[in-house]
Symmetry: C2
Subunit: 104 residues, 2 copies
DNA sequence: TGTCTATTTGGCCAAATTGACAAACACTAT
DNA sequence: ATAGTGTTTGTCAATTTGGCCAAATAGACA
C-alpha cells in the first residue's frame, strides 16, 4: 500500500466518512434551518442520547458542526454551509441511480 | 431508531460511504484526467489487483465511475463530474481544520 | 455545599469494512 | 481446443464502527 497516497487522501476521506451515516446526514439537514440541543436531536431520531452525543462529536471533530453551551444545554449549528452543495451533487447521483434502476 | 429517517438518508449516506476511503478518493482524482485500467491503478496505489477491483466495483455500483471493456482491459472513467465540487468543499473544511489546529 | 439537569465517556457486544491469497471467470489469439 | 492475459469473486482474519446501558462529568442554582 502506497503510504503517500494514503496520507494525501486520509483527511479528505475522514471528512467523507464523518458524514457517511444516516443519522449524521439527518443532523446536518436539521441544522440547516435551526439550532438544536442534544436531547432534542436524540428524540427526533429516536436513538439513545449517548449515541446522539457520539454522532455530534464525530461531526464536531471534523468541524462540520459547532457546539455552543448555553446554561446546561449544548446547541449545535452547521459550520460549513458548503456541505449543502455536497447534497446537491449526491442527489444528482441518486437521481441518476434511480433512472438506471437503483444500485446492487 | 427512527426507521423513516434511516430510510430517507440511507442512499445518500451510502454514496458518501462509497467515497470515504483514501484509495477510492485516489481513484476519483486519477480519473479526473484520464481513463485507467485496473492493473494500472493497482500499480499506482501499490495494492493487490483484487483489492483494487473491489474498490472500483464499489464506486461503479454507486455510479461514481463507469467501466468500459476494451479487449481484455476494463477502463474506468469518472461518471459524475460534480463529485469534484465535493472535493472543493472538502478542502475548505480541511483548510479550516488546519487553521484551527487539525483534528485529534 | 449539595442537588438537579444535561451531556459525555467507558465498557461491551454485534455488525460492517478492509485486505490478501487463491480460485474462477471472460475474453483474445494461436 | 488450448494457452495466455486481465479481471472478478470466494473465503477468511483483522480492524473499525455503531448501539445501548451505566457511570462519570460539567455547570446552574438553591
Amino acid at each position: 500500500m502506497n503510504q503517500e497516497i494514503i496520507q494525501t487522501y486520509q483527511i479528505e476521506s475522514s471528512i467523507f466518512k464523518s458524514m457517511a451515516h444516516p443519522i449524521r446526514l439527518f443532523i446536518i439537514h436539521q441544522l440547516e434551518n435551526k439550532k438544536y440541543g442534544v436531547q432534542e436531536l436524540a428524540d427526533m431520531a429516536e436513538i439513545d442520547i449517548s449515541t446522539m452525543s457520539r454522532h455530534l462529536d464525530t461531526l464536531k471533530r471534523h468541524r462540520i458542526i459547532a457546539g455552543e453551551k448555553i446554561k446546561n444545554n449544548v446547541f449545535y449549528t452547521l459550520n460549513i454551509p458548503c456541505v449543502l452543495e455536497f447534497m446537491t451533487c449526491a442527489n444528482k447521483v441518486i437521481n441518476q441511480q434511480n433512472k438506471l434502476g437503483g444500485i446492487i
